[in-house]
Amino acid sequence: MNIDEQLRAAINQKLIETGERECLKELLRAKLTECGWKDQLKAHCKKVIKEKGLEHVTVDDLVAEITPKGRALVPDSVKKELPQGIRTFLAQHASL
């Protein structure tokens, strides 16, 4: 593992250990719901289900269809705020 991956793993571990990861997840959930991303994606989901037909659609289908769209639809403000939350966390746990 190169240094980047090591760092990433260490940060991730710290985030999980302190429970901060869960908090950030909830924060992200709230923000995405707030900005309408969840509804947009839900609508897209339904569209996909209708296209494929209810009986034949699989979870993998949905995941394949929705993941790129979901990633694209995240608003920039949210994209900036989450890393900021992580930075704040790191600043507080400087011993890492």
């Binding site: 571990q13 250990e17 924060l27 719901t33 979870v59 704040t88 507080q92």
Partner: protein, 658 residues
């Protein structure tokens, strides 16, 4: 530090819980309760419009769908009673079974309630009609908008045995001894890790055994200790090799069957998942209040003070969410601000501005139409206002840099910046006509200072009204004419709430305020007394404590007493006119129109060269907090009433919110 852990737990998770159980009570009631909890969770800092609540309710009704894909009537009810060991362990609580009428009575195995917080009244378990009715309401709710009616029909289909949500492989799995215990362990340890120990363990062990990733839809095998990611099919390979057909998604907690190639929703397993999740969230709530407590105690001065404060507040914060409204210390929306290097001047102005209810609501309800940073205080840790600082540096260059700045200067600068950027908010406003501006800043802060100039020759009076955002007042001792009491002024009966014998008061300063004559640049007497044509909603009084005497600059530390309530009637232009016409002061002015109450006090400590700003903010009626950058502590009224006072913010009483 404000403890707002409860509000930062978003409603999303709560909605999931209460929706996760399928039929427990009438969906309307559940939705209403969940809707209320939504509102609680979002908190006072965000205006939760009725639209939001409605959408949440619809979502709630929709979320009922997947959970109703439970085990279907095709399996005989006997199976449940015999194979499930849950029965004897738990105190039976009635729950209607999701089955059509004939089997309902046989299969009414008691099932624990779905949500510990919601006191759901349970419909009679033997009421066969309840289930279809609920379905009706589901499809009715779902059919409410456009394409949803199709899915509502699908729900009905699923309910009556035509959907793929049950599989025989689950039954095979359940044959094993202790399967609920094992499943519960998996959920507690790896899916919803609640305690620090489990989290540590999860952090270490939950990686794909093949590719070491933590993402890519990591699943845990239900039959052995194996973690594999889904996207790369690592868990699939394991399932094939070991014939372990079931795995649980570590992110969502849903169970996948590799033989059926789909996620399945077994009722008993769903129940275990829900139970462990609730336990976990309870743990998280209580733990995080402790964590937040620790975070609020910074390694600064006044550590003891804040420790005492937080200890006093501790029992109140550990109370469960639903009692939040009854708390006597209401700290939602209160948040410290980190000092970024002599930025205390900015921090206290931001604290004052964000506690103006009108301004706060305006920005939080997104009425502002441009991409500016809106100062909204919402979460538990102190906010780092670096974005705001950067924006100020860009738009008010005279304040750029890390030197100490004047808070009043900053106030004017930030109001100006907000004012300039509020162009888009009001379409009718003409760009260059500052007097016509109707932006939120002007609506709140702009007052009209009237000055009448009497021509010495012909005695005609010319009146000018200068818009102003604040009122700067000289202090006694700095102005030579202060002490001479004009007999005219003595007639003004002013309610002297702030009168302390021997100590000059704010009212004294107001009475003797002089307005500079623009033509001759000298301080005129009597004709130029402070007169307000229009009173602003928020009046900011700036006590000029920084004096420039020749080359010397010094700070005047005279204590000026100021009242909690201030009546501006005597300083109104209309009052003056009336007094001049009728010859006596208008004493019977009892309307509340011109009454103001104090809500923020900004103090400067130290000298001109090196000083520090702190503020006192009113959070609610009679609840005041001292804000010293990141340290927020409860303050008594005496604390700030006897503080020096540099900037005093008064809010018109008629518009105040409690």
């Amino acid at each position: 530090m404000a403890q707002v852990r409860e509000t930062s737990l978003p409603s999303g998770s709560l909605v999931l819980w209460s929706s996760g159980g399928g039929g427990g009570a009438s969906p309307k009631e559940k939705a209403k309760k969940a809707g209320e909890m939504e509102k609680d969770a979002v908190g006072a800092t965000k205006a939760c419009s009725g639209q939001d609540a409605k959408e949440m309710k619809l979502e709630l009704l929709q979320d009922h769908k997947p959970c109703d894909k439970k085990v279907l009537p095709s399996s005989p009810p006997r199976c449940y009673i015999s194979s499930s060991p849950l029965c004897p362990r738990r105190k039976p609580r009635p729950r209607p079974q999701p089955r059509p009428a004939p089997e309902a009575r046989l299969g009414s195995r008691p099932h624990p309630s779905l949500h510990p917080i919601l006191p759901l009244p349970f419909p009679h378990p033997s009421d066969p009609g309840s289930r279809p009715q609920m379905l009706q309401s589901f499809s009715g709710g779902l059919g409410g908008s456009g394409d949803r009616s199709g899915l509502g029909d699908w729900l009905l289909e699923v309910e009556f045995g035509r959907g793929p949500t049950w599989c025989s492989h689950v039954e095979n799995f359940k044959v094993a001894k202790n399967w609920p215990k094992n499943l519960r362990l998996i959920y507690q340890r790896f899916v919803w890790s609640g305690t620090p120990e489990t989290r540590k363990h999860k952090a270490k062990t939950c990686i794909c055994h093949v590719c070491s990733t933590r993402m890519n839809r990591l699943h845990s095998c239900l039959s052995c200790v194996f973690f594999g990611c889904f996207t790369e099919n690592h868990i699939h390979k394991h399932a094939e090799a070991k014939q372990h057909n079931l795995a649980v998604d570590l992110y969502h907690g849903v169970i996948y069957c590799f033989m059926c190639k789909d996620y399945i929703y077994d009722k008993d397993m769903e129940w275990i998942a829900k139970e462990t999740k609730e336990k976990n969230l309870k743990l998280l709530t209580s733990i995080s209040t402790d964590v937040s407590q620790q975070q609020c105690i910074t390694s600064d001065v006044e550590e003891k003070h804040s420790t005492c404060e937080s200890k006093e507040q501790e029992p109140k914060f550990v109370k469960p969410k639903k009692k939040r409204r009854k708390k006597s210390v209401y700290t939602v929306g209160l948040r410290g601000l980190i000092n970024l290097g002599n930025t205390c001047f900015m921090n206290c102005i931001v604290q004052a501005l964000t506690h103006i209810p009108l301004l706060k609501d305006f920005f939080l309800s997104d009425k502002h139409k441009c991409r500016m940073t809106s100062p909204a205080c919402v979460f538990r840790t102190p906010h780092i206002p670096y974005k705001l600082l950067h924006l100020i540096w860009i738009h008010a260059e005279h304040l750029a840099g890390y030197r100490q700045q004047d808070a009043h200067e900053f106030l004017i600068a930030i109001l100006d910046v907000l004012h300039r950027h509020s162009r888009d908010d009001n379409v009718e406003q003409e760009a260059n006509n500052s007097t016509c501006c109707n932006c939120i800043i002007d609506q709140i802060f702009t007052g009209g200072l009237q000055s009448d100039v009497t021509c010495q020759a012909c005695h005609s009076v010319s009146t000018t009204i200068d818009p102003c955002w604040d009122i700067s007042l000289d202090l006694p001792g700095s102005c030579a004419t202060f002490s001479s009491q004009n007999p005219e002024k003595a007639d003004i009966t002013v309610s002297r709430d702030d009168h302390i014998p021997g100590i000059p008061s704010l009212t004294d300063c107001l009475q003797c305020a002089k307005i500079k004559c623009s033509s001759c640049q000298s301080y005129q007497e009597s004709t130029k007394q402070l007169t307000m044509k229009k009173l602003p909603i928020v009046a900011c009084f700036h006590l000029k404590r920084f004096k420039h005497v020749g080359k010397q600059r010094r700070k005047i530390n005279t204590f000026i007493s100021f009242p909690l309530d201030l009546d501006m009637t005597p300083f109104l232009a209309s009052t003056k006119e009336r007094r001049m016409k009728e010859g006596h002061p208008a004493t019977d002015c009892t309307s509340n129109e011109n009454k103001y109450s104090l809500f923020a006090v900004i103090n400067h400590h130290g000298t001109l060269e090196s000083g520090h700003y702190t503020s006192f903010i009113q959070q609610q009626k009679d609840q005041w907090f001292s804000c010293d950058d990141a340290i927020i502590t409860k303050a008594t009224i005496e604390d700030f009433l006897y503080s020096e006072g540099y900037l005093l913010f008064y809010h018109k009483q008629g518009l105040e919110k409690d």
